[in-house]
């Protein structure tokens, strides 16, 4: 594994909890590796298969989906939808020849800046350890 290998991670963060949690990491000046690019979504339940597969198709090394803790969803149960979809998506990934672990679902509240920074650090390290994608960098095309 090359030492200078820098994975690229796309993070879909829900507006109400996790995006604010990432803000909190900033406000608290907690550093984490610069590998993640955050896309704001209203709810973790908004993230669908097309978005996730698009990331991998483009060459993302990993995707993080984060939302409010169960029971705390701003829209009452959007995160449960996300959780259900997540299991299916991981299956889909392995079908496409991508390690399941490259997709992660996490609950981060608006107050959990520390959790967020740790999460990104760990996830980056984990993905760096996994190394570059072995499926020729791009998932099988076609939208789902």
């Amino acid at each position: 594994m090359a030492l200078d290998y820098q994975p690229k991670i796309v993070g879909f963060l829900c507006n109400w909890c996790s995006y604010a949690g990432a803000d909190m990491a900033g406000t608290s000046r907690l550093t984490y590796p610069p590998n993640i690019r955050i896309i704001r979504v209203p709810c973790s339940g908004r993230v669908d298969a097309t978005l996730v597969t698009k990331c991998f198709q483009q060459g993302a090394d990993a995707v993080l989906v984060a939302g409010c803790h169960p029971g705390e969803c701003h829209y009452s149960e959007g995160n449960y939808h996300a959780r259900r979809r997540f299991t299916v998506l991981r299956e889909l990934l392995s079908f496409l020849g991508i390690e399941k672990d490259r997709l992660r679902l996490e609950w981060v509240s608006a107050a959990e800046g520390k959790k967020f920074s740790q999460l990104v650090s760990e996830f980056s390290a984990e993905i760096a350890h996994l190394g570059p994608r072995k499926d020729n960098g791009k998932a099988a095309g076609g939208s789902l």
Binding site: K8, V10, Y19, A20, A22, D23, A25, G26, T27, R29, L30, T31, Y32, P34, R37, I38, I39, R40, V41, P42, C43, G45, R46, V47, D48, A49, T50, L51, K54, C55, Q58, G59, A60, H74, Y75, S76, E77, G78, H81, R85, S117
Partner: protein, 666 residues
């Protein structure tokens, strides 16, 4: 093609100290559709905002990206800024290069700069696909509905009426007042319950802004915040309220007597009755299930042979103004309201489920509410506390806490919140009524968290000499005239047995009958017990998850009178915040269906937690989904549920999010 302007903020050194602003600006110049790039020391300052406004006008910018702090911080600010320059406020995107970049990557300036550039690139790609969005103004009915006329509902109705808005108060029983009307004195100050309640009840009846509908129930609710349509069933009293003078002759002379619900069976009432002397309104109702004339009519209608029951009609004959109206029938009223307050209150746990406490077999094992009636000067014994079995004065009284509370066996894990306090109150009152009374209070722990509550418990211990025993009762049985109560003094670790004259079960609080059904018809959430669920347990405690429907009192959870009154007022303020608006403004970031792509599978509808998706038939006969924009909250669940890619979310459309992803690799 749109002309995009990019503004990069230094935030003093907050951003500029880590991110190389010049490099970001240079990169932005090369991004597609970007026609103007500038930087600002402090974008949010007045100088910064003016600079942005001027650039929009001068450079004829059609879209704006501001690379600065988190949108949580200043999105609203900058939407206003661009709007002032004549741009649609939704044609703005913020790249968060502070919280998500400079502040977290201060240790690697090059990487931070690279990341900032990518964040700007994503924002540019997204903003290019923004559409102008327009808020809509929706009219509203400036009238409120309050369901339930206990102290919570009364308070809410009065506060709204006093603020100048019309209110309809619907109460199921023949009178308002709720459970508080049954209480004798109230903790922690021992004011007489009816002395503080009756004036409020009268105020409700006389308030020009309040329409009081008692003996009535809400049948159905349609619509949304500002525009609810409610069907109310007004049950027939068989008494013409416009004629009745409340003289009371009818209920004194009616020969049919049944146990009075208001006194929990401790005394009788007539078939034509008002629940208690200070009832509001003080118009009697005929209890159809027990009235002899009604039974007579039913007998005749059945055409049976045999001895006819008596016709009776004594009330009709004796009523001076001839107010009895046998023709009166149930009516359905339809009303339009803008906001609803649900205050349907509680009932107490049915203790007959406890076999070990005699399952209701022992007459001298009574409930807390029954003791309130016995203590009350206007109660069935005129304030004399006597044993139901033989009318003697009890000297040894045992209180049993947590009956139907904190008991998973009974499916009730929660604490009923008020019983610790009312047991103390009743011990004090018993002592006042009869100094020879010795009270024993079995408790698990004493929950007295309110203002002056702990002090009140001490009064029960010191002044009323109540003996507190820590332990739960296991068994009550009759031994002659005595009731043997077996518990443990868990502080000594020994079993305890007390031969009591009277046992008072502190039965827990549960939602009123029919609460779940009402919640269903209102489309608001309720928990496993039937308590209404708040939008947020801490921050939105009197709002339901459905906009425009508010909650108060014991309908939410067990609570005491101070809490109920506070919630009644809080719910009124929340409802007034809706009613007082000139019109309602809709959030334009809602879902939208592409009618050409929609297959009518309604996966979206199943995903939507807010009932915001209706069906509609197109001209060519296809049934497709349509979003009710006033109900939609913009969560986007429907979008991910829609396999046909017919559903989209304005402001977070599929194209926009994909553009952000793609931008990362361009």
């Amino acid at each position: 093609m749109a002309r995009i302007g990019v503004f990069v903020c230094h935030c003093g050194s907050n951003i500029a100290g880590t991110v190389n602003i010049a490099q970001v600006m240079a990169a932005a110049q090369t991004m597609p559709l970007v026609t103007f790039v500038a930087d600002n020391k402090y974008s949010c300052s007045e100088i910064g905002q003016t600079a942005i406004r001027e650039a929009i006008l001068k450079q004829k910018l059609e879209r704006v990206v501001i690379a600065a702090c988190s949108p949580q911080m200043h999105e609203a600010t900058f939407r206003k800024t661009v709007a002032q320059a004549g741009l649609n406020p939704y044609l703005l995107e913020i790249a968060n290069i502070r919280e998500h970049c400079s502040w977290v990557h201060s240790n690697d300036k090059a990487a931070a700069t690279k990341k900032a550039i990518e964040l700007v690139k994503m924002a540019v790609a997204k903003v290019a696909r923004h559409e102008a969005l327009f808020t809509k103004e929706i009219g509203l009915t400036k009238k409120a509905l309050v369901i339930g006329g206990g102290i919570s509902g009364i308070q809410a109705a009065l506060d709204m009426a006093n603020a100048g808005y019309p209110v309809i108060l619907v109460e199921r029983e023949p009178t308002i007042g709720g459970r508080m009307a049954q209480l004798d004195k109230t903790f922690p100050t021992l004011d007489c319950s009816s002395c503080i309640l009756t004036p409020k009840m009268v105020e409700v009846a006389q308030h020009p802004n309040i329409t009081l509908l008692t003996y009535a129930e809400v049948k159905s609710v349609r619509g949304f915040v500002g525009n609810f349509e409610v069907e109310i069933l007004q049950r027939a009293r068989k008494v013409d309220a416009s004629k009745c003078t409340s003289c009371g002759i009818c209920w004194q002379k009616c020969p049919e007597k049944i146990p009075a619900e208001f006194n929990l069976g401790l005394g009788p009432r007539a078939a034509i009755y008002t629940p208690f002397p200070q009832a509001v309104p003080n118009i009697p109702s005929i209890d159809l299930a027990h009235c002899r004339y009604i039974k007579y009519q039913e007998f005749v209608a059945r055409g049976e042979e045999g001895k006819k029951p008596p016709q009776c009609r004594i009330c009709e004959r004796l009523c001076p103004p001839q107010a009895i109206d046998w023709e009166q029938s149930d009516q359905v009223l339809v009303e339009k309201v803008g906001a609803i307050v649900v205050a349907t209150g509680y009932q107490t746990f049915d203790h007959t489920r406890y076999g070990e406490f005699g399952a209701g077999r022992y007459p001298d094992v009574i409930t807390g509410i029954q003791l309130e009636r016995l203590l009350s000067a206007s109660g069935p014994t005129e304030g004399e506390v006597v044993r139901p079995s033989d009318g003697t004065h009890p000297k040894t009284v045992v209180f049993v806490s947590c009956v139907g509370s904190r008991d998973e066996r009974m499916g009730r894990a929660y604490c009923s919140n008020v019983c610790c306090m009312y047991m103390a109150k009743q011990a004090i009152l018993l002592k006042e009524h009869d100094p020879e009374v010795q009270s024993y209070i079995f408790y698990i722990d004493i929950r007295a968290g309110g203002k002056g509550y702990e002090e009140f418990i001490r009064r029960a211990q010191e002044e009323a000499r109540a003996i507190y025993l820590r332990g739960r009762i296991s068994h009550i049985y009759q031994d002659g005239k005595k009731l043997i109560v077996r518990g443990e003094d868990s502080l000594l670790g020994r079993p305890v047995e007390i031969a009591a004259d009277l046992v008072v079960l502190a039965t827990g609080i549960e939602p009123s009958a029919g609460a779940k059904e009402l919640a269903q018809s209102l489309n608001i959430s309720y928990d496993a017990h039937g308590f209404m669920v708040e939008a947020h347990p801490k921050l939105r405690p009197v709002e339901s998850r459905t906009e425009g429907i508010f909650l108060a009192g014991t309908a939410i959870a067990p609570n005491d009178i101070p809490g109920c009154v506070a919630q009644g007022s809080a719910a009124a303020v929340k409802a007034l915040a809706v009613l007082s608006r000139p019109s309602l403004v809709s959030d334009p970031m809602v879902a939208i269906v592409d009618p050409l792509r929609c297959t009518g599978c309604f996966a979206c509808q199943r995903a939507c937690a807010f009932n915001a998706i209706d069906s509609q038939v197109t001209r060519d006969g296809k049934t497709i989904a349509v979003v009710n924009e006033s109900l939609c909250k913009g969560c986007g669940l429907c979008v991910s549920a829609c396999r046909g890619v017919a559903m989209n979310l304005k402001g977070f459309s599929q194209q926009q999010l994909l553009a952000e992803v793609n931008a990362l690799w361009r």
